[in-house]
Amino acid sequence: MLEKSFTGNAFLLGDHVNTDILHPPDYFSLKKDRIASGLSKGAEDFFSRMAKDDIIVAGRNFGCGSSRESSARSFAYNGIRAIVAESFARIFFRNLTNQGIYLITCPGIAKKAVQGEPLVIDLEKLEVRSTHQGWALPCSPLPEYIKCVLKKGGLLKFLEEEIKNGPSSK
């Protein structure tokens, strides 16, 4: 099922937050607990300050750097469902999408969002808004292929079905 919206309080991160900060290579692992415990252990541990339903609002180029999928998994394993950013680094975008996480590109959000204030990500109206402060910013629509992946909860689940129903598109 494709989610229609997410709500939570904004948790602000800056520009160019890289994968070595988000999930340092020391947490390279196949073990779920080890991967999960590495989230934001690279520099200042922001995750420990996040409340359960906070929504990360990042700046430009969020997740730049390594292709290590353990960084993507650390978000999934910690229950993060959606992230808003000015822009995402390309490989990070693909990796988190494959984990079934909604990445919402919303230019201008870093300046608008206020730490701790409630936000609504509305995927039907394609906007991120603050009812509290009375603003709404348009966000980029998700491409069809990505919607299919998210609908199934991630690339693996999507492919399992494709493979079961016969060879895929090629």
């Binding site: 160019h16 890289n18 070595d20 900060i21 340092p24 290579p25 020391d26 390279f28 692992s29 196949l30 073990k31 080890r34 690279g42 520099a43 430009r60 180029n61 730049c64 750097g65 390594s66 292709s67 290590r68 999928e69 353990s70 993507a72 998994r73 822009s87 680094a89 390309r90 490989i91 693909r94 990796n95 494959n98 491409p143 292929y145 690339l155 693996l156 492919l159 399992e160 493979i163 895929s168 598109s169 090629k170």
Partner: protein, 417 residues
């Protein structure tokens, strides 16, 4: 309307014409993983129920990151990867063979191919005119299993570079300058095509340096035309059959054209903690350094070590400085031993390590201490890179690194040329 290199290569692999902005399902010629990303790829293949890979002889597992392994868990990951190769027939490039991108460019990648790897610097292969790009473990598992992947055909920026490189200024300095100009996310999702006299005159080692760092501007791929340099490179490695000329059409549609001239370029460094924080070496505070690291998929080739050796010959590394020398591949190590380059670096006080990623990733040898300063020839100086968020990394060419090792302070290499 003509095609860019990316449009040409991806059209040929999709089986129909594709243009920038379109999604394509493209067959892949080479798929690889490394020991950080590979274990997850293996697990995902198992989850999907695949017992084999689509093309074992074009699927490679590189053990290059935590290599040799510094701890039990990683040693067990390596065991898992070796066992996977035994079971599926995928090629194993084990500890000591070198960095994935270096070995792939030397032994496997041909012009016109589509290459995907579970490492962000897979874009290195663009130097050989392949459409090469990095992805995560799950995407790579799918590419390995099915032999194809989905891609959005990127818009292309033509980077036209005129002039001749002044003495002491190298491909690395140009690429740092380029990234400093466009910023670390300026080219996100784009393909870059490096052309013009300054790029055409670069040896393959310099082209590989530039393509390797394409991702540091956010780009998906960084390509060079396949020309006489490509041909000579493949011939020198005993792979002449892999060569085919390939270039973008003159009337290809570019999203942007950027012009540079290297004639007045100076040696550059990227200062902590961002790759786009780039300044001429001469304008940077000559800080005392603790470690100098020469190697990596960016600058770990024989040409790079020769440049460093020419500067360090007959000299000594400054007291208190650790000079790490890590050949990018076994071939580089052997060639450097044969021509005396490695001997020169060792005599100067260099610590010669086994081929691999070495200190760059910060998972084993060469982890920096709190407050330490390192000049490195790698591609990233992020906070936390090299294993310590409280350290400071400056990115530079092998020449700047070598000059810095001698003086113990960040130094313009032209003082030694």
């Amino acid at each position: 309307m003509g095609k860019t290199l990316s449009e040409k290569i991806l059209s040929a692999h999709a089986g129909h014409d594709v243009r920038a902005g379109e999604f394509a399902v493209a067959c892949v010629d080479l798929v690889y993983v490394q020991d950080g990303t590979g274990p997850l790829t293996v697990r995902q293949l198992e989850k999907l129920g695949f017992k084999t890979v689509s093309s074992p002889q074009r699927s490679i597992v590189f053990i290059d990151h935590a290599s040799p392994s510094p701890r039990q868990e990683l040693s067990n990951d390596h065991r898992l990867l070796r066992e996977f190769c035994r079971r599926t027939g995928a090629i194993l490039s084990d500890t000591g063979n070198g960095i994935s991108h270096n070995v792939a460019s030397e032994d496997y990648i041909n012009p016109g191919e589509v290459v995907v790897g579970a490492d962000s610097h897979t874009c290195t292969g663009g130097a050989l005119c392949a459409f090469a790009t990095g992805m995560g473990s799950t995407d790579i598992a799918v590419a390995m299993a099915l032999g194809h992947t989905w891609l959005r055909v990127p818009e292309t920026w033509k980077i036209a570079v005129a002039g001749t490189f002044p003495k002491g200024v190298y491909a690395k300095d140009f690429m740092l300058h380029f990234i400093g100009t466009v910023s670390a996310d300026g080219a996100t999702y784009k393909a870059l095509e490096f052309t013009g006299p300054a790029m055409e005159s670069l040896p393959m080692s310099g082209r590989l340096t530039i393509s390797n760092m394409a991702v540091e501007s956010g780009a998906k791929a960084g390509l060079f035309n396949s020309d006489s340099v490509t041909k000579a490179f493949l011939e020198s490695l005993g792979r002449p059959a892999g060569y085919r000329p390939l270039q973008a059409d003159p009337d290809a549609a570019y999203e942007k054209i950027m012009n540079f001239d290297v004639s007045t370029l100076e040696p550059m460094v990227a200062c902590p903690h961002f790759v786009d924080n780039v300044h001429p070496v001469g304008t940077v505070e000559p800080l005392a350094v603790n470690q100098v690291f020469i190697g990596t998929s960016t600058n770990g080739r024989l040409d790079d070590f020769r440049v460093a050796a020419a500067i360090l010959k007959g000299k000594k590394v400054a007291p208190g400085v650790r000079l790490l020398v890590t050949p990018g591949s076994r071939r580089t190590l052997l060639d450097g031993l044969a021509d005396g380059t490695i001997q020169t670096l060792a005599e100067a006080g260099g610590i010669i390590t086994g081929p691999g990623c070495g200190a760059c990733v910060g998972v084993h040898e060469g982890v920096l201490g709190d407050g330490e300063v390192c000049v490195a020839t790698q591609n990233r100086n992020f906070k936390g890179r090299m294993g310590n968020p409280n350290a400071f990394i400056y990115l530079a060419s092998p020449a700047t690194a070598a000059a810095t090792a001698i003086t113990g302070r960040i130094t313009d290499p032209r003082e030694f040329l």
